[in-house]
Symmetry: C2
Subunit: 264 residues, 2 copies
């Protein structure tokens, strides 16, 4: 594998930091290449603005249009281009973060906001069919991703009946709406629960689970998200009625089979 490890925690001495080190060591031991984007260490700027696109501030900023033009003409800001190059190099993306308010820390959300510009990650049309290439199709198709998330909650409370909602549902905007949207296959997430009170034994368990998941990543079955363009959706991009339960089908309707439980 060629792995881009995207990491977002303010303290390298954290549980998250230790797991990142453990993961990179595991990749080394198995002969896999890796590059790291340690967003806090890089002082990554997560805020989209006109400067990203060499945009004339006198003109109204239409983010999609401005980003597409800057991408096409090589005028995206250098920090964005550098991240796009790393992702282009990689065949595998690890997205590791502590779950803050049931989502990514802002510094990481802003990596996707800024790096996944129009023309690179969305707004791509198949020249043969004229159809938009997304949800399983696009320039990033062929790559794989895995989310690694540390959370204070107990595992069961992030399961199907847990008060916080199921982890795969909470991650739906990232796993389906961002990664799969751009064509990237997503294997089930690795959840490290009860992370704010981990004992040395808990750490050992977490590290073992991580060491198991990484080498098998290329052969792990991805989350079975539906493809946009293979007949499950109608021309208006709505699921055919027989594929959705009557009232509130929820995110699981966009899978062809139930995902495995997130908290193994």
């Amino acid at each position: 594998m060629k792995v881009l490890w995207l990491f977002a925690h303010p303290d390298p001495r954290s549980l998250s930091g230790a797991l990142k080190t453990e993961g990179l060591r595991t990749l080394d031991a198995h002969g896999h290449e890796h590059r790291v984007s340690d967003l806090y260490a890089m002082k990554w700027n997560p805020v989209v603005d006109a400067d990203d696109y060499a945009h004339d501030p006198a003109d109204r900023l239409l983010v999609g249009d401005a980003s597409e033009r800057a991408y096409a003409t090589g005028r995206l800001s250098p920090d964005i281009r550098s991240e796009q190059e790393k992702l282009a190099w990689a065949d595998t993306l690890i997205v590791q973060f502590p779950l803050w308010w049931y989502g990514m820390p802002a510094i990481l959300k802003g990596w996707f906001d800024r790096v996944f510009v129009k023309g690179f990650a969305f707004g791509i049309t198949d020249p043969a069919t004229g159809r938009p290439q997304r949800y399983g199709d696009g320039k990033l198709a062929g790559k794989r991703a895995m989310v690694i998330v540390t959370a204070g909650a107990r595992a069961a409370t992030l399961g199907p009946r847990g008060v916080n909602g199921d982890l795969n549902d909470l991650l739906f905007p990232l796993q389906h709406g961002t990664l799969w949207y751009t064509g990237i296959s997503v294997v089930p997430p690795l959840l490290i629960p009860s992370a704010d009170r981990a004992t040395p034994d808990d750490y050992a368990t977490a590290a073992t689970r991580l060491r198991d998941r990484l080498p098998s990543l290329p052969t792990t079955a991805p989350l079975p998200f539906r493809h946009q363009n293979t007949g499950d959706y109608d021309d208006g991009l709505l699921l055919h009625p027989h594929l959705a339960t009557p009232h509130h089908p929820g995110p699981s309707a966009h899978y062809t089979a139930p995902p495995p439980p997130a908290h193994r």
Copy 2:
């Protein structure tokens, strides 16, 4: 109402900016007070770090502990305290943003990451029962919120069968996991769809919908999220089995009744 209007768009000349102006004018016309946190205009820093908490960088940064200590001793950074004071003043919170990668722009996610610290928004225990106060209970209970979201997608593709997932499911981490978690009641979101190609007529429609929603906000039925501490969850904080469909109940299991469609 006393409204805090939280706004995250890089260009005030945008559709989003015009709707914010329209909304504030509507509040004025009805005699409601308002304050605004225009995050781009404020150059809001969305990145949690040790400086937020007057934290000694020689010590490991445990975000929850450090934020709780800084909150309790009045040593949170001044920009965070100022936002907490605005929210304490308000009885109503508007959260307005363009939907970027099916979530909040990073600058807005980082408002919640930094302002909603332990002791203020989570980690609060009922002294009488010893139970955590969250999901419908907590220091912010009694307030209301409404999300206003502009999106490029057509409304139906953000509905129950839409390829992008249902808007209420996409907003579950914000509406349930953040706002409701802290005790804030959330009325159904206002979706302004097809926003990147709005005509003057579309704008007029959007403005009318906004002008209708704002004055009725205090009497609008909130999303019927379940309360954590009123018997729907067992002692392990799992939904009682009879309240959840067998396999993948999804976010809708955490409502007592189906939410109204987001795209009215």
